[in-house]
Symmetry: D2
Subunit: 310 residues, 4 copies
């Protein structure tokens, strides 16, 4: 690897925490505590509550507060909490950020504007206004499949160099941009580059990632930790083998095969796996998303068994 | 025209109301009242506050309340208020809808989910849950440039037939779908089909639209009312001539020519024109959008003069 | 209407001619002659062979020549032939254009580059090189669903004003751009603005179109001619009624309902209707497109009966 | 790595060969021979003429033949030639394939249909008809930025298993799909999985790629060969360091910075670098693409010097 003379603020495996519900559809706060414990026991180095994998778009304001309080309580200061402040535009994001900071966030993760139609200048102003309004690190959440805007690498590099952004969670799937962003931010003290990948984490680490934010990490946090450790220690064949296993495990998201929406398929598979693993009591999704059915749960159980989780 | 034996709930010209700010960037509630008066004097048949043209994505929750209260107060019951309840998913939209109903909305206008990644089944469930939660008409706001989801005409027709949707504001620009949706909803009592077009309103009326929701209607409400009346009375050459004039007027949105974001160009031009017309005191945009400058204002003034508004 | 002081080179109804095949999949040149006669008897004012509706992307070079020769022969000089010169980039388009001119084209219809990744400057150079290489009128074919590039209206207006482009066939579905392009080209002598719409032709005429290029015109040329005549004569209610009928007729393209590809559904429906009308012997599509089956043919027959064609 | 018990037909570094022109714009066949020699001396294991990097979309039929003949002559059987057969639909692709086979291709590389609007069933039929028509291996060229169709991994896996496809050149940038496709084709004898990446080749090799098809490989074939060898031998830190260097070298494509089209920027940079390296006499592009200017050539020279190529 090219010499990395700086120390990133955050590293390791920081899963986006899924949000359980009871069979009746209410928030399951005991389940939130259970998954936090499951993750920390699995060796994660941080938690990312109120991300897309937490069904945050579907949570009311009240529910968001309740979920985060439960995470803060269960975590009890053991790992840093990078918390999503998710809304359309910056004034609304700042309101959200202040709220989650009051509850206990250690850093803010925010997307570029969405629904609003912006340009690069407005996106810069957006992150600058957010960073000016809070006194914790701000990470950009690059997820064009939802925002319909890919954060240009030069823009991120500029905001990193000036101290506005302390990191990125890159869920863009654009690994070419990711590699180049890594080179562009080599000398920026503290800057933390996370991939949102689930099945190319070994490659992302080889590209110079500081950490991983895998939704599938809810199901197998220990596997992702092993992958991360192998990469950091230069045991690339081990990292590759672990990634291949996790890639096969990821096929749980294909089980619904179009019966539910794309949004519900992945998260529904994770929740169903967590039921099978004894962490959750129900795989119920936030309305109007459909939950996975018994047949799908059985197919997921088979994959969990094959890949050594049951 | 094919016989239209039903009576739409809403008809005519219902502009999305723009939201003025002071030169310092604060909400200008006196300006809100001024534009409402300007619109009603121009002959509009309804108002659509808290739409995209109202910079609603940029308004905090508090600001949204203040704007709507000012519209309700200024309107004083003269025309119906179709009010946007804008948020990502249905539980959040319901919260928003209840709030605006408490302030004085006569109908709710809501998009399909955004940021969330849905499918047709979830979109149906979304609108059904919204309609079940409120006791006023619900209109779908079809704006794929923001939601990245085009409402399929068969889906809308089904929701119309069952009484979930009382109408659509179609800002999709898909006039083929619009024409076919009109034929599919011919027999649905009360269903109101509005186009969001500014420059093809005559064609939309020929396709069977019940009304028009033009952002440019903030600038020239009387022009759109003349266009609408001509169409309803079958004076198509008059409608066409009025539309040609309004199309030339619409070129005010091209004035910034890339200096500001696409979102800021159109609304900034409307606001600037309203300053020139003496309705607003400032053309200031919500941050982080840039406002139009003096040179751009001068160019807009020239167009207003050429098209007979000054 | 605003005064139109210029005379367009081409006007009226100019259908893109579909290409019949025998039940065995060979070109059916007798069928080509039959559809040409069907169209001219229906009152069309020109023909557009080797367009997308002619399955031109699927024709070998030899087949393209054969089809065009049959059209030229059957037409026998009765109406002008606007002929597609379809290829990826300009040198190849020029080769194609010279070939169709040798066979008997009266004007060339060409898209912007595709597969190649261009920008506006290259698109201008593309059309200029084409116009310089041929001595007949060149019309731009604006079909972003295939080229993935929308011709900007300012670019077209510039190429029109300088004499490079003699017209446009607009299959973009962007009626806002279409209306504005009409105003921008008002004073350009000879410039001919055609819509590719099938179900909003009345609106396109109200926007100032000079003519119509409807794929469905293969099935009901007389209907489109009545629509066109009514519009030209200012009988808009008649135009609207005819368009409403044709819009219902257009539902034949929905019959396959996903069983075949989008490309095969529309053209397959047209071909099947032409079999039902006795013009074609087979509805066979070019491989690898699937042809419509007997059940689908029966459903199309019912629609043809309902809309007065059988 | 999971055990790979099969032997791929093709492996290693197989660059898409760029096509030089004289300063006057004519094909430079001596330059074709020079770049072939440059590549083979650099250690490439195969050549991919008539790919997108060869400006193939811009070549007339005659020019395509001339280029391929020059490649065949210069190669003199030293490495296998995987040759592009580029056209819109299968009958036309077969015509093209037969022609290049007659000239000396060892395998055919073909995209899914473009300009034509297909679906998965037609894409399968497309590749099956092509494979049936030729007696050499067929590789799919997955390049959605040009075809606007991403080859679904399950479709490719099915065509691989049945023997229709002998490999894929994946230029989709979708590394998640790539990793999963690798696992799906593990047991398919001979199947060859190539990445089109330039800056994430180390990651692609870690994902199980059999080889690399880098456009930048025209400039630095020896660098890519070192990267490939390091990966195959499990020296991942060496692969990573080489990739980091090549990623910095790749910044030559950013030099034009919007002055030319995206298509012209990358290829123009490669050609300009080959002039600086003494392989080409001119960096002239096929019309209507603009060539890079002297200032841009100087900037590229600086990068070449910094990265050790001059």
């Amino acid at each position: 690897m090219s010499p990395q003379t700086t120390t990133p603020l955050f590293t390791g495996v920081v899963p986006p925490v899924v949000t359980p519900r009871t069979a009746e559809g209410e928030l399951d706060l005991a389940g939130v505590e259970a998954v936090v414990e499951h993750l920390i026991q699995g060796g994660v180095t941080g938690l990312f509550p109120l991300g897309s994998s937490g069904e945050t778009p579907y949570l009311t304001q009240t529910e968001r507060d309740e979920v985060l309080r439960a995470v803060v309580s269960a975590n009890a200061g053991r790992v840093p909490l990078l918390v999503g402040a998710n809304d359309q535009t910056v004034d609304r994001v700042v309101d959200e950020a202040k709220k989650v900071l009051a509850i206990g966030a250690d850093a803010i993760v925010a997307t570029s504007p969405y629904y609003a139609i912006s340009d690069a200048a407005e996106v810069k102003a957006h992150f600058r206004a957010l960073a000016a309004a809070v006194d914790v690190p701000v990470l950009a959440y690059d997820i064009p499949v939802r925002t319909h805007y890919k954060l240009p690498m030069q823009l991120v590099a500029e905001l990193a160099a000036e101290g506005t952004l302390s990191g990125v969670k890159d869920s863009s799937g654009d690994d070419v941009s990711f590699r180049q962003l890594r080179l562009l931010t080599r000398g920026v003290e503290g800057f933390s580059l996370f991939t949102g990948h689930e099945v190319v984490c070994d490659g992302a680490m080889l590209s110079g990632a500081d950490g991983i934010v895998p939704g599938l990490g809810n199901v197998d946090p220990a596997g992702y930790r092993r992958l991360y450790d192998a990469a950091v220690e230069g045991r690339w064949a081990d990292a590759q083998a672990e990634q291949d296993r996790l890639t096969r495990l990821f096929r749980i998201v294909d089980v619904p095969n179009g019966r539910v929406s794309p949004g519900a398929a992945g998260l529904g598979a994770f929740k169903t796996a967590l039921v099978e693993l004894g962490v959750f009591a129900s795989n119920r999704m936030a309305a109007p998303m459909l939950s996975l059915n018994d047949e799908e749960a059985a197919a997921i159980r088979t994959i969990l068994e094959t890949e050594g989780l049951l």
